[in-house]
Amino acid sequence: MGEHVEADNAEAIITRIEHKSRKIESLLKQYKPVEALKTALEGSPPKTRDERCKSANWIVVHRALMAIKDVDLMFTSLDPEYYDILMKYLYRGLSTGDRPTCDQCLRIHEKLTQRAGPGCILRALSDTVNTV
């Protein structure tokens, strides 16, 4: 029973992520990359253990992350409440080993660390429960 509920829940999350993905594409077409990134980070599913949900959300976050051209400009409109979740996704990006993804993640990581401090890195690395 419990597993069944979890599966239903996962389907609902996947549907939501698909919806989010369409919204992000339209925001990117309107040249609003930061809005797209915020949308991708919002409601990301760290609490669920379902790896499919985590991967699906990573794909949309990755899409939005790679669309960021000017990192400094991004931070002028990205609120601090997004910093911790963004850091977690940066480490997920670095773990892929993909060259362009890592380059982009490192660029953002440098600026994010300047703004959010080492505490943000610690929260991303030490939390083994709410992973992205």
């Binding site: 911790d84 959010a116 401090g117 080492p118 505490g119 943000c120 610690l122 929260r123 030490s126 939390d127 083994t128 429960v129 709410n130």
Partner: protein
């Protein structure tokens, strides 16, 4: 040629050292009123009831007791009985007894008889290291946290002339890193490396005479020994350094994820706040008043947190910080950064961040209250850490903090 270069380097280093001393002195005029280098590293320390003596562990199996003699600290006793590093010391305010716990899994209660300190072994029945210890406010019990996922509550049995240890088992999923007594002498709060903070009753028949008076925590005082009052699941990684506020109505603890947690209304429905830190995690905390908390840790500089009128907690500032840096102080701090570069990154704090290099230059892992003013508020406290220094701080001249005291 090479020799000359080295000489230059020496003179630069001397200059740096001199400027650091100047910088330190300006800081000492601020909040830190005394700095003493007692050892290479101090694992924990405690003050005698009249604060004329300090007991500390210099990162080995001994306790050294120093007495203040004519502005100097003289070592007057060395307590040798433990086999391994001493992880916790507490000196009872009411009975002048010292309790020590060690990684050797044992605990000793030390009584002063004439000029010698006589140890009494307390059998804790642990199969892992003891990590922390604290006397209860009345001094008739003490609590030991351990790596064996247990808390020992120890009390003296008159008829057997023996310290008895009663265990709180099967509640913690990992090592207990810190224990703190509620002012009512019955409740204790613990933090552990499973990330939880828990509150237990330690009511022991015959030791805690009758039912204790009801205070802030209400009916939870009727609980049996070892009963869990509340479990707080705020942190997702190691938790350290729990303390109660002076009234016992709230508590604070820290997580290794650079967060500090404040909890009110301890009971079935507690209300909690978490404050995110910009920098490195804390190791220990202390309430100065109901509205002012000092946290110490890996940033080597005590952090001040305060609650505003609505009870909302936030970070105020580092204590070891000049509000308007004079030119000489700024000069000093810039050179301190250079100093860090010369010595590589092994000296934390000095090399990490120029603005924060201060009195302590390594992780602070212990904070102990000192003078208590008549209104139950602490104005002075001491810190010790991996740099082997014990620093005494006074908040009296910190005008911006007075409104919270």
């Amino acid at each position: 040629m090479d020799c000359k270069k080295r000489k230059d380097l020496h003179s630069v280093t001397d200059l740096v050292l001199a400027s650091i001393q100047i910088y330190m002195i300006t800081l000492i005029e601020m909040a830190a009123i005394a700095v003493n280098q007692f050892a290479e590293c101090v694992t924990c320390h405690a003050w005698s009831p009249d604060q004329s003596m300090i007991a500390l562990c210099p990162n080995n199996n001994e306790v050294h007791i120093y007495k203040s003699v004519a502005e100097n600290w003289e070592r007057i006793h060395v307590l040798q009985k433990h086999d391994q590093i001493i992880a916790g010391i507490d000196w009872s305010k009411s009975s002048n007894r010292i309790v020590t716990v060690s990684h050797d899994r044992n605990s000793y209660v030390w009584n002063q008889e004439g000029s010698v300190w006589v140890p009494t072994l307390v059998i804790l029945r642990l199969n892992r290291a003891a990590l922390c210890v604290q006397w209860s406010p009345k001094g008739n019990k003490f609590a030991v946290g351990s790596g064996a996922k247990t808390v020992c509550i120890c009390y003296y049995e008159q008829e057997n002339n023996w310290w008895v240890s009663k265990l709180i088992r099967k509640k913690h999923d990992s090592s207990v890193t810190s224990v703190a007594w509620h002012p009512n002498n019955v409740l204790i709060a613990t933090t552990s490396t499973d990330g939880k903070c828990r509150v237990f009753s330690t009511f022991i028949k015959g030791v805690d005479a009758g039912k204790p008076r009801k205070s802030g925590s209400g009916s939870s005082l009727d609980a049996k020994f070892g009963e869990q009052i509340v479990q707080l699941d705020l942190s997702f990684c190691w938790a350290f350094g729990v303390k109660w506020s002076p009234s016992g109505s709230s508590l604070a603890y820290v997580g290794h994820n650079s967060m500090i947690y404040f909890v009110d209304q301890i009971g079935p429905s507690p209300s909690a706040q978490s404050v995110v830190l910009r920098d490195l995690p804390l190791r220990d905390v202390m309430f100065v008043s109901e509205k002012l908390v000092i946290g110490v840790g890996y940033d080597c500089n005590p952090m001040v947190f305060a609650a505003d009128g609505t009870g909302s907690w936030s970070f105020v500032r580092f204590l070891d910080e000049k509000k308007s840096a004079s030119s000489s102080a700024r000069y000093g701090s810039q050179l301190t950064e250079a100093f860090g570069k010369f010595y590589g990154s092994s000296k934390q704090g000095t090399s990490n961040d120029k603005s924060r290099a201060g009195v302590h230059d390594n992780c602070i892992n212990c904070i102990v209250p000192m003078k208590t003013s008549e209104s139950n508020k602490i104005t002075s406290f001491s810190t010790s850490g991996l740099d082997g220094k014990v620093v005494v701080w006074d908040l009296k001249n910190q005008e911006d903090l007075l409104e919270y005291m």
